[in-house]
Amino acid sequence: MTAAFSKKQKAVVKGAIISSLMAATMAFLLSIFMLGLRTKSAAGALVLEPRFTLVAGITVLVFSGRLLLHLFWWNKKALSSHSFKQPGWFEQLASSKKIGWFGQLALAQKLKGLGKHGGTIMIALCFILPLLLFFFNLKLGTGLPLRYWFDIATLILTYIMLGWGLNIVVGLAGLLDLGYVAFYAIGAYSYALLAQHFGLSFWLCLPLAGLLAATWGVILGFPVLRLRGDYLAIVTLAFGEIIRIILLNWYQFTGGPDGLSGVPRPSFFGLPFKRYGDQTFHIFFGLDYSSLHRILFLYYIILLLALLTNFVTHKMRRLPIGRAWEALREDETACRSLGINTVNTKLTAFATGAMFGGFAGSFFATRQGFISPESFTFIESAIILAIVVLGGMGSQIGVVIASVVMIGGFELLRNMEGLKYVFGQEFDPSLYRMILFGFAMVAIMVWKPRGLISARLPTIFLKTETAVSPSPQNKGDAQ
């Protein structure tokens, strides 16, 4: 190649500039009013506060960003060799092998290697590490912010459990449920109300709450599970909202928007975690009182609950019902032609998912000590769905990764004080959490419609488990 540009290269550069200009125009149109003028209330009326530098910045950023991508990424080949090809950038992104750097097969094998021992090691770590840290702090006085750490871990585990629960419905059975939070709410309110009115203990209420949630899953699911996928999604969303509105307005029963407070805390085999009293946890075990005891205890409860969810799902996948769920996801018509009662099969998936949602809900209630309808909005359903989708529908480990990244990552984001120096003191990183969630959902779907971890392990082998067969790469496209 000589110094002079070839005709094709000129065409590429020209095309790149035009397309970047168009993108910049679009960005300008989109941002000129929405970002360029901020409405502020002053003295009873709204006034506008111009921020045109922001608009200019965004326009320039979009232009230069797209130009750079054109020249150095999408058209790398065209500019270095003479083949000229310019597919749309998203299409390119979707099929790019460069980005799909961890190949499905390699990952599947790695995971399998990990799965055999790594899973056990991970679980063991989850059990031992907190205790270890606790004693470190106690004996060595390391002063780690354990309370905060345990809280985050508990939060992440709650989402992992919810994700695993929803994974049964969405990932295995292929039913898009946008109202999953309703069952979470039912679980939470069941526990709070049962405990308040009948004085039942957490350990008794837990299965009851799960059963109630499952029953509601059947009641709500039965009429609608005949519907096609996208209609089902909207109806479940409507149900989720109906339940929330009822919780919000049924004042006598649910406390309305004020919610229910004073939800009892769980006890350790009847031993409460209290500073004072004659039969408390720390007195019984002869320990010094520490508020961390209860937090640690809650952590272990949710860890066990999450593991139970995983264990049951794992078992069910290998039973006929689990295979029927997956078959349902693959082809419902074929299922019916094989004599499978698809409505019942869907109902079991719906009810099982709802039950775990109910468990998680009563855990949430006991952990918070206070619940109100505000905790059960659609956005919560969307977060759980995002975790399942991003992790890879049907993949258990994917849910873990997505929960850690999403919930943990945003917790990190919240604490990034450094960002304030970049974006100014008013910058609140937690505001950007949901927008990033939304973008991640779009990007993952475009890039990998089956989620980050899309390799599926067969549930049974005819021969001995010799190899993981590669999952068909773009199977999603075939449906």
Binding site: R323, A327, L338, S469
Partner: protein, 281 residues
């Protein structure tokens, strides 16, 4: 079971079947019957209503008029037009395949064949709860199911690929896998929707042998819709020709082949599909 005793036992009886879609009459007063251990073929030009007949038989459409009755050898009678599609398979024991193959593409061959044995395995697993709580011993039943699956995989020559995904199979193998999957539901009647479509001569031949095998060993009725005349002519005991939703001829393959009405309606219209010298009068 004694073969001669069952020969000609009228398993399926279709009477005055009519199916309308809005103003269009896809099937018009069609009557025919199919005997156990017979291979019955329904042929007809494109758009004659063949697949619609199948969809009525297997419950995917509810016919506008008519009666479809299926009588088991023990004399239990099922009125298929009144049954849910999945019960037609599980209770009346009718299995089917699809024109555009419908396998569980992301699952392995073995899993496909196990899903077909769902109902009986569900019972064996104590409807899941039993097996989850360890109340029933599910393993032996699963072993049995795997054996049945292995048997059919062996029949279609795909044992080696049992743990591969169904989507990875070549087209012809997918067709045969779909038949094997249907057979795993333990049917009395097997309905095949254009099983030879898109197969090369060698695969077509394999298919013929498989079908004859199934009839000989399983003693069941096979009902098939076909376009490929060579399959129909070689293996069918009984051929029904329909055109515009009406039956225009029926009888043995050689009889139908020489029926003037058939030649006019079927071969006359679609000369290029006349499959050459074999069918010319």
């Amino acid at each position: 079971m004694n073969q001669s005793a069952n020969q000609g036992f009228p398993l399926l009886k279709v009477e005055h079947l009519t199916m309308r879609f809005g103003g269009l009459t896809a099937i018009d007063d069609l009557s025919f019957s199919a005997a156990q251990t017979d291979i019955t073929a329904i042929i007809g030009p494109n758009g004659a209503g063949k697949t619609t007949v199948f969809n009525c038989l297997t419950g995917f459409y509810k016919p506008s008029e008519g009666m479809i009755s299926l009588t088991h050898p023990d004399r239990t009678r099922f009125l298929l037009e009144r049954m849910d599609d999945f019960r037609i398979c599980s209770k009346a024991r009718v299995a089917r395949t699809f024109q555009n193959i419908r396998l569980f593409a992301g699952m392995t061959l073995l899993e496909n064949l196990l899903v077909a044995q769902h109902n009986q395995l569900m019972k064996a697993s104590g409807f899941t709860i039993g097996a989850l709580l360890g109340l029933v011993s599910y393993q032996p039943h699963e072993k049995q199911a795997i054996e049945l699956a292995r048997h059919w995989l062996d029949k279609i020559g795909l044992v080696e690929r049992a743990d591969d995904h169904a989507a990875d199979l070549p087209y012809g193998d997918q067709r045969r896998l779909e038949i094997a999957r249907a057979m795993c539901t333990d049917p009395l009647m097997l309905c095949l929707d254009e099983p030879a479509a898109g197969l090369n001569p060698k695969e077509s031949d394999q298919l013929n042998r498989l079908l004859l095998d199934i009839r000989r060993e399983e003693q069941i009725a096979i009902l098939l819709i076909e376009h490929d005349m060579s399959v129909v002519m070689e293996i069918s005991d009984h051929v029904i020709v329909i055109d515009y939703g009406r039956k225009i001829s029926s009888g043995t393959a050689s009889y139908v082949r020489n029926d003037k009405k058939v030649i006019a309606a079927y071969l006359g219209v679609e000369n290029e599909e006349g499959q050459g010298a074999e069918v010319k009068p």
